[in-house]
């Protein structure tokens, strides 16, 4: 294999991995910071319903 291609592939994996990690952590932090308390009963009731629509 051409070493420049391997370099490109590894660079791409590392770069995209870093971008993904960065935004993933960002989203997780945002979800933590902007967490909304949901009533667990809502979910339970929805579970029981037929859920066709």
């Amino acid at each position: 294999m051409d070493p420049t291609l391997i370099k490109l592939a590894i660079g791409g994996i590392v770069l995209l991995g870093c971008i993904g990690l960065f935004f993933g952590i960002g989203l997780a932090l945002a979800a933590h910071k902007f967490a909304v308390k949901a009533n667990p009963k809502v979910e339970a009731v929805l579970e029981v319903l037929a859920g066709a629509q």
Binding site: G12, L15, L16, I19, F23, G26, L27, A30
Partner: protein, 322 residues
């Protein structure tokens, strides 16, 4: 108090942006003897001098050298030169029409005024930058409306245009999300993908960014403004399934737009979609009451209406504003 300060910061930011936009387009005159340069019509460039120039110098074509900024090797041929009676303005006529989207460079060798030379001048001729940005905005909004001339985003377009209120809600959500995601994808493309020669991965990265911005808006809006979140409802998630939101970053990457131009294109695409949804929903609300033949009821007549709108939008084609 804190609110007032925030508003002050915002205003300052906007003023700075406006200042940058206005003055980034005007710089470039390197000689104090040249007052103004501009395009005139399709074939000509107008140059205004600070004082009267000698006729013998001004009407000699070999004293001028004009080229498009990206191609300094290709010198444009001047056919005739026109000097005004007060000898302060010169109009250069060219054989071929000028591509006014590119800035042009004009070199004037040894400008003679009243028998004295005031040196050589290299000046840039370009369209007013603000006008160029505005033409991108109007172009994406009307002339090349993504729904009616490129037939993109039709699934969401037909899905959410039954009621006017939902159509407007969808349009507004869409505009917000597309501006956010287009700016992010522009940044990532210019500063990460291009330097690392990974432009072939652009589609994957842009898809990820779109879903990321949708998710982020969803999470933040749920907490910050629950009323608005409820109004957006299911449409926020539907934005992911729209192809315009993927087309805009690809166009930005292809055309090598800068930040301001990208913002204008994204805004134009969003507002164009809003206009399309609004028009369509207004018609479809009336169609509910009309006596449509049974075969055409529902989606078929909506497609016919969309085709008529597309024909109407053809009227904008070939329109240029600046």
């Amino acid at each position: 108090m804190a609110r007032l300060r925030r508003i002050t910061y915002l205003t300052l930011g906007f003023l700075l942006l406006a200042y940058l936009l206005v003055f980034s387009g005007c710089a470039g005159s390197q000689n104090r003897f040249i007052k103004k340069t501009s395009f005139r019509g399709t074939h000509s460039i107008l140059i205004t001098f600070a004082g009267p120039v000698d006729e013998e110098w001004a009407t000699k074509a070999s004293n001028y050298r004009v080229y498009e900024k990206p191609d300094p090797d290709i010198v444009l041929k001047i056919s005739t030169i026109e000097l005004s009676t007060n000898r302060q303005t010169v109009i250069l006529h060219f054989e071929e029409p000028l591509n006014q989207n590119q800035p042009h460079m004009v070199t004037m060798r040894g400008i003679m005024t009243e028998g004295k030379s005031v040196g050589t001048a290299i000046v840039k001729v370009r369209k007013l930058y603000l006008g160029y940005l505005f033409s991108i905005l109007i172009g994406a909004m009307l002339v090349q409306n993504f729904v009616f001339t490129k037939y993109l985003g039709l699934c969401v377009f037909f899905g959410t245009s039954q009621k006017r209120s939902t159509a407007v809600g969808m349009g507004v959500t869409f505009t917000i999300v597309i501006v956010a995601s287009a700016m992010m994808s522009w940044f990532l493309y210019q500063f990460f993908l291009k330097p690392f020669h990974l432009d072939f991965l652009q589609i994957i990265v842009f898809i990820g960014l779109v879903s990321l911005s949708v998710q982020a808006v969803d999470t933040i809006l749920r907490k910050v403004n629950p009323m608005l979140f409820k109004a957006f409802g299911v449409y926020l998630v539907l934005v992911i399934a729209n192809c315009i939101i993927l087309a805009v970053p690809l166009i930005l990457a292809d055309n090598e737009y800068n930040a301001a131009e990208s913002l204008m294109l994204a805004l134009g695409a969003g507002l164009g979609f809003l206009i399309a949804l609004f028009l369509m929903s207004s018609v479809r609300e009336r169609l509910e009451l009309a006596n449509v033949p049974p075969t055409y009821r529902g989606l078929p007549i909506a497609f016919v209406v969309a085709g008529l709108f597309a024909l109407a939008f053809l009227g904008f084609s070939g329109m240029s504003i600046f």
